[in-house]
């Protein structure tokens, strides 16, 4: 008898944990899973790059400048993807370069999201006049094309990868403010917030513990999107000479250095750009999967 009861109890399924539920929906999207794998490789390269790379990223093999990749005439297995005009190994530079893009993405998303969420929460809970002021300031930042604003900010701060990250974070931050504020405003109307307030929760508790967890889904999706935007913008700034400075093997900077050789050595131009494209594409694929898995409206349909 007892056995039968316990067996019955086992059949009643537990509500799956939030993480498992998320993974269930994420897995549906094949592109997103592929994106996740590519991103995992990218993250590994970012962490262990210098130990994986066959050569040093800055060592110049002067005798072997502009060696083509291995499958072309004149290529050798020593330099699988060829060498650049200064005789540095392309593959090693690309592998070591992964950490710059990864770092840019992480720092920009963390800085922009933290700042944006805080300001957005304040705007959502503040009296109308303060809310208006905050949103007008965000409108002002959004009125400038993002790359142009980042470019001018970097010109002020001085060209370097750190300053490029700061500039990009400032430019991307208003998107988080708008998203957070919009979801705070719709959540605030709901009964559970009223009941928490009636129970005596202070503003601080209402903001961070009651409301914020319910606003996170769109913010996480935005995080994936701005990760890829940050990588693209940092590479663009590097390409214009306003990001990481040579001899840093940052992908955009590598492209800028390679520009004059485009008609003589296609591989110096092709591979860094391909690295940027594949990384950004993988993150965007993941972002699409995240959106499908986190957006309850899409789930039901």
């Amino acid at each position: 008898m007892d056995d039968a009861l316990s067996a019955e109890a086992e059949i009643v399924p537990d509500r799956p944990g939030a993480l498992r539920e998320f993974w269930f929906y994420f897995r549906e999207n094949r592109g997103a899973v592929i994106g996740l794998w590519i991103f995992a490789v990218f993250a590994l390269l970012a962490v262990f790059g210098p130990w994986i790379a066959p050569h040093s990223a800055t060592q110049q093999f002067r005798a072997d400048a502009l060696v083509p990749p291995v499958w072309q005439d004149g290529g050798s297995w020593k330099y699988i993807l060829g060498t650049d005009p200064l005789g540095r190994d392309m593959l090693s530079r690309l592998i070591v370069g992964a950490r710059f893009s990864f770092f840019v993405g992480i720092v920009v998303v963390v800085v922009a999201a933290t700042g944006g969420i805080l300001v957005g929460l304040v705007a959502g809970f503040a009296p109308k006049w303060l809310d208006s002021i905050i949103m007008r300031i965000m409108d002002i930042i959004l009125a400038f094309p993002s790359l142009l604003l980042a470019l001018v900010l970097v010109a002020i701060l001085g060209p370097s990868l750190t300053n490029a990250m700061i500039a990009i974070a400032i430019v991307l931050q208003p998107h988080y403010v708008r998203l957070t504020r919009a979801s705070v405003l719709s959540e605030r109307q709901k009964d559970y917030v009223t009941s928490a307030r009636v129970a005596g929760a202070g503003y601080f508790r209402l903001m961070f513990i009651t409301v914020l967890p319910n606003c996170l889904a769109p913010i996480i999706v935005q995080g994936a999107l701005s990760f890829s935007t940050a990588i693209l913008d940092a590479a663009a700034l590097g390409f214009l000479g306003m990001g990481a400075q040579p001899p840093t093997p940052e992908w955009g900077t590598m492209l800028a250095e390679a520009r004059e050789f485009i008609l003589r050595a296609w591989w110096v131009v092709t591979f860094p750009g391909l690295a940027i494209l594949v990384t950004v594409l993988a993150i965007n694929l993941m972002g699409d999967g995240l959106r499908d898995a986190l957006d309850p409206k899409l789930k039901r349909s």
């Binding site: 007008r136 009125a143 400038f144 142009l148 002020i156 485009i262 940027i276 594409l281």
Partner: protein, 335 residues
Amino acid sequence: MLNYVLSRLLTFIPTFIGVTLISFSFIRALPGDPIVVMAGERGLSAERYAELSAQFGYDRPIYVQFWEYLTGVLQGDLGTSFVTKRPVWDEFFALFPATLELSVCAMIFSIVLGLPAGVIAAVNRGKFFDRALMSTALVGYSMPIFWWALLLIIVFSGNLGWTPVSGRIDLLYYFPDATGFMLIDSIASGQDGAFRSAVLHLVLPTIVLGTIPLAVIARQTRSAMLEVLGEDYIRTARAKGMSPGRINGIHALRNAMIPVITVIGLSVGTLLAGAILTETIFSWPGIGKWMVDSIFRRDYPVVQGGLLLIAVMVMVVNLTVDMLYGVINPKIRKR
């Protein structure tokens, strides 16, 4: 309706003042004293410095300078370039047609390809065509366009020799700019081959600048179409026996266009940001290249004025889109 327009216009004013303040203070924050930069390598004496400082008004309190700048801006006075000594306003509008021509071509390119692609993908939802188109769109959306430009140059200019690498027209042809739009001017000049040359110069920059808007429009059209295709009135039309072409092309597309138009309007900022990279790579003499060159030359009045004019342009376009949206969709106006 009038109330809606007025309230939208009212929010424009503080944003405009803020944008002016930002472009004004950015330039004060740039490293290097503008007068020392202007003097160049010759250097200058203390008296001459004071004289110039007074001439440009740099010796007065900062709020007085801002007030004068703001009132100057409203009268169309944005200062004078340190390098060319010409008014910033004149320089901007001399170069603007080049950017406008490129942007309009890029926009036409992306709409002409993006709308049908989105519609076809939505109608064939989940099938091979849909997957292929949307994968391509995602690649386009993730494209680092400065690299894309270099690749196109390698293939079409280097290997095939079809298109020129830079500029707006071959040096062979010379004619005064009547309108500033090379496509129109080259026809008006009546010179043999001038128009062909202008078109060939436009092809690659148009593709490069249009790639991201193309991907965005295709994705947006697809999702808007999918939403509309699920509506009851589409099912009614289908039940009445209307042909699929008529349902998709007329009933669905018309309503799907509303969000798409917004996206098209809002991509003006994206286009201008893209123009910075595209124009720099193709040596296209427009606003984007002018801004980058001025930043490198530390030509403060140009950076300040250009930043302001570009921001105001984006704001005006966004405002217009907002209002048009209100005209098309009465639900928004009421709010």
